[in-house]
């Protein structure tokens, strides 16, 4: 299964380039940024889940000593109701602005309403208490099914359902309903020997990155705005800020600082435009930081959802029909990841007759953001547990069932695309062959579960420039934020082309004025697409270096070949020179060499994984302990295997947290009651065993080295795998996330 190609750099495990800075505390993250004359901004947030804002009086705050400026939605440039495209689909500018500073309505507790800039953070916090907001409190709706009811409180009086492309007449909380369909469902279900249908619900969960959002903005009188911040995409910050503040993109420069995690949650802007507005008013640099509670209450979680799944199969284990219904909470404004959920729900399998209905529904919760394979985990929890039940009914090994039904090259997905070469069956085989699966699991209240997860992966745009240095190293300028070691994985691809070591590359994540357009670090695209651009840039360097060698030897370019890091003359002359040697002679052969590469590749190639988990359930407390965990995944080609394993391990553990502990807990007023890391409990190292990550390599034909994105897939399978393991342990099927001790005790009739 392994890729047979021989590589020098790819597949090795060099020390990451930013490593020393990050273990010594020298790396500068967004909140670490300092500049002379800095003011500090803080946000006032709505204490209500749903309220009309009748008036805001900022005069007392403005008069408070040390306060330099106060802003509200009134300070936005008027924009009407334009539709803007930020590269990820059209959004309403009004919604974009309203989410940053609420104008007439606050739509969730934590919604930003006003901001203060002052001489220090504490003064800013004190001044927030002096802003008088007159609210008319409205009834909230925080659950997707309630929000879909005819008589539900309406968040947006002007929202009309996009019903399969047609706008409906009546206002509704349902922003859209769409459908993917394949084959003939009735026929498929008629062919089935077993049909199983269940309903599932999942709670709202947060990305839980450890670094809160931050932004420092400086507006100059010449109209030039600079923003230093941690973000998954400097260019998407530029695009959003320029739309929200109605400024040309060329007037906004975004400087990406190091970023302390994102997982999809640091794409949308919240405080960045506000920092800019405060700087515009004061003429000073303004730094705005969020608290942990701000992050939970005011930034995009991933949706709570209601999912219904019906699957039919023959007694030989062939899926004959599948029907899914996905209703996802968008949060306060339309745009949940239900589209991606519907893309993923059936995509592990080759199913002839299938249907999926998707509903995007607004509720009084923060606007949802992407979170690692957004939308896929909710759907997989349902599908993969129903499949487990089918396997039990027909007496088939669940991994065999998956191999039998696995989607393969040439199969058509229910949502349309035809599969290129994928490695799903290979990941299931790897799980089956792993010693974990054949080791017996003894003991009461213990069980083993398996599940698989799919993510399509994305390409999108990237730019890279390479400058050759006279000592034979290169500087590689890229626009992709490095969240998990991508400086290394991108540098290694360029090094491979040029026959130099990974250490001979100095990767630089540049600001938006210093590198070509690059989309976000998200969609598992960075090693794939920015790596692709780096490959192209290195090829450009190689072409130019061949020209230089030809010049040096006074031969034709066609008489120079480059292999294994050495340029050789092929016309009989005994000439050869390595990359370093030639780099030292650039001055004599025409001056500097700069290579460039851009990419917008379409062949991202899905990545699929299969997980095996052993659990033990404490029947007294309902606590589920993870005893052993193995995750296999198709990485196409692992550029830096350690960081691929890291993605798989980290994703699996986020999935374990989602499965067992994590949820936004709301009271009847629609207020989140657990907005801290104490009460919103993410896994600690004491909760976990080692996570065995098994890399499967089925090269992606859409990338020169066969890379598939790996970041998102590993979060998809865990909740279902754990639910299946819990069933084996205590005989109870869990259909609600999280499977927290209380819910386990309820399900077993203990409480």
């Amino acid at each position: 299964m392994a890729d047979k190609k021989e590589y020098k750099v790819i597949g090795t495990r060099p020390i990451r380039h930013d490593g020393v800075d990050k273990v010594t505390g020298r790396a500068l993250y967004g909140a670490d940024f300092q500049i002379v004359g800095l003011l500090h901004g803080r946000m006032l947030r709505s204490p209500h889940a749903h309220a009309r804002i009748k008036s805001i009086d900022t005069s007392r705050a403005e008069a408070y000593p040390g306060v330099k400026a106060v802003v509200t939605a009134k300070d936005f440039p008027g924009a009407g109701d334009a539709i803007v495209d930020l590269g990820e689909g059209a959004v309403s500018l009004k919604h974009l602005q309203d989410n940053v500073l609420a104008s007439n309505k606050a739509l969730y507790k934590g919604h930003q309403v006003a901001a203060v800039a002052a001489i220090d953070p504490h003064t800013a916090e004190e001044a927030l208490e002096l802003i008088d907001v007159d609210y008319e409190v409205l009834p909230p709706v925080i659950n997707v099914r309630n929000a879909m009811k005819e008589d539900a409180p309406l968040l947006h009086e002007d929202l009309r359902t996009d019903e399969m492309g047609e706008k409906s007449e009546k206002p509704s909380n349902i922003a859209s309903h769409f459908q993917h369909k394949k084959g003939d469902l009735d026929k498929g279900f008629a062919e089935a020997d077993v049909v199983i249908e269940h309903e599932f619900t999942t709670a709202t969960v947060h990305q839980g990155y450890i670094e809160p959002h931050n932004a420092t903005a400086l507006y100059n009188p010449d109209g030039q705005l600079t923003i230093w911040c941690s973000t998954q995409g400097a260019f998407t910050v530029r695009a959003q800020v320029s739309e929200i503040l109605q400024m040309p993109v060329s007037k906004v420069k975004v400087v990406p600082m190091e970023i302390g995690g994102g997982f999809g949650g640091k794409i949308q802007v919240y405080i960045k435009p506000v920092a800019a507005m405060l700087s515009m008013k004061t003429g000073k640099p303004v730094k705005v930081l969020m608290s942990r509670a701000d992050v939970f209450e005011g930034t995009g979680p991933t949706p709570g959802s209601y999912v219904r799944v019906k699957i039919g199969a023959t007694k030989e284990g062939r899926i004959t029909a599948a029907e899914g219904y996905l209703a996802y909470e968008a949060g306060a404004y339309p745009g949940s990841p239900v589209g991606a959920g519907a893309m993923c729900i059936w995509s592990c399998y080759n199913i002839e007759n299938a249907l999926v209905d998707g509903y995007d529904v607004v509720v009084n919760k923060p606007k949802t953001s992407a979170y690692r394979a957004p939308g896929a985990t909710n759907a997989a929890f349902a599908v993969e547990t129903v499949i487990d039940e089918i396997c039990e009914k027909i007496g088939m090994d669940p991994l065999e069932f998956r191999i039998l039904n696995s989607a393969k090259e040439g199969d058509t997905r229910v949502d349309g695309p035809v599969f290129p070469r994928i490695g799903f069956a290979e990941t299931v085989e790897a799980a089956k062959e792993h010693p974990h699966y054949s080791t017996s699991l003894d003991g009461k209240y213990r069980g083993r579960g398996v599940a698989s997860g799919f993510w399509p992966n994305f390409g999108m745009k990237s730019s890279v420039a390479i400058n050759v240095t006279s000592d034979g190293t290169i500087n590689l300028v890229e626009g992709s934020t490095d969240i998990g070691g991508t400086r290394a994985s991108i540098a290694m691809q360029a090094a491979e082309v040029l026959g130099i070591s990974a250490e001979s590359v100095t990767p630089i994540v540049a600001d938006t004025n210093s590198v070509g357009y690059t989309d976000v670090t998200g969609g598992s695209r960075t090693t794939f697409a920015t790596g692709y651009a780096a490959y192209e840039a290195a090829q450009d360097v190689k072409r130019q270096m061949i020209e230089r060698a030809a010049k040096l030897w006074e031969v034709d370019e066609s008489e120079v070949e480059f292999a294994d890091g050495v340029f050789r003359c092929t016309n009989g002359k005994e000439e050869e020179i390595d990359f370093k040697g030639l780099a030292g002679q650039l001055d004599e052969t025409g001056g500097p060499v700069v290579g460039r590469g851009t990419a917008d590749p379409t062949g991202a190639g899905p990545s699929i994984g299969t997980h095996v988990v052993d659990v033990e359930v404490d029947p007294e407390t309902g606590k589920v302990q993870i005893l052993r965990y193995t995750a296999t995944q198709d990485a196409g080609k692992a550029i830096h295997p350690s960081y691929v394993e890291g993605q798989i391990q980290g994703g699996a553990v986020q999935g374990i947290g989602w499965a067992l502990n994590e949820e936004y807990i709301y009271n009847e007023k629609g207020e989140m009651t657990n907005a801290s890391f104490l009460d919103y409990r993410i896994p600690t190292c004491l909760d976990l065993p080692m996570i065995d990550a098994v890399i499967v390599e089925v090269p992606n034909p859409g990338h020169p080295y066969g890379v598939r994105g790996v970041g998102e897939t590993p979060i998809v399978a865990p909740p279902a795998a754990i639910a299946n393991a819990i069933y084996r342990a205590i005989g109870v099927r869990m259909r609600e996330l999280p499977m927290s001790p209380g819910r386990i005790l309820k399900a077993t009739g203990k409480i």
């Binding site: 495990r13 273990v23 302390g260 995690g261 998990g484 394993e645 980290g650 801290s676 190292c685 976990l688």
Partner: protein, 162 residues
């Protein structure tokens, strides 16, 4: 604004004096007064360990200590670990084991691991997990962090015995 307190203390072996407001936490003082930004704020209420420092030999969350409290005491932060020409073995082990992804939790983990190995040079896996349970990492799933601490323990004890 409340008037400031004058504090004399030792940070990473150097004598330091500063002025701070009585309400400023040690974390704020380190970051905003002394510009030692290696200690990070993840929660500001003692739940994430990103701000871990060693205060008179004891591991603490610097967000839960007041700046004024460190008068006459000794503080070790992540910035004090490496020598000019050499990383601390724990830092090396984190790099070798790829025990960081975004790296925001890394200073806290490294400081906490140092406090552990200062006390218990040969911890079991369970002891490592128990000790580090106050430090949250959202990226790695902890596997490589635990292995890095195991490796560092081994390297440090072989250095001592050599």
């Amino acid at each position: 604004m409340p008037s400031k307190v004058h504090v004399q203390t030792t940070i990473n072996g150097e004598e330091v004096e500063f002025l701070c407001e009585p309400r400023q936490s040690l974390l704020e003082v380190l970051r905003d007064v002394l510009y030692l930004t290696g200690s990070k704020e993840g929660c500001n209420n003692g739940n994430c360990g990103a701000c871990s420092v060693i205060l008179d030999g004891r591991l603490v969350n610097s967000c839960l200590v007041l700046g004024a409290e460190i008068e006459g005491k000794s503080v070790e932060t992540v910035e004090g670990l490496a020598e000019p020409d050499k990383l601390h073995p724990i830092q090396d082990a984190f790099l070798e084991n790829a025990a960081l992804q975004c790296g925001i939790c890394t200073p806290g983990f490294i400081v906490a691991a140092k406090a552990l190995l200062d006390k218990n040079p040969n911890p079991t896996e369970h002891e490592i997990r128990y000790w580090l349970a106050g430090n949250l990492c959202r990226c790695t799933g902890y596997d490589k962090i635990v292995r890095a601490v195991q490796d560092a323990a081994q390297i440090m004890s072989s250095e001592v015995s050599a």
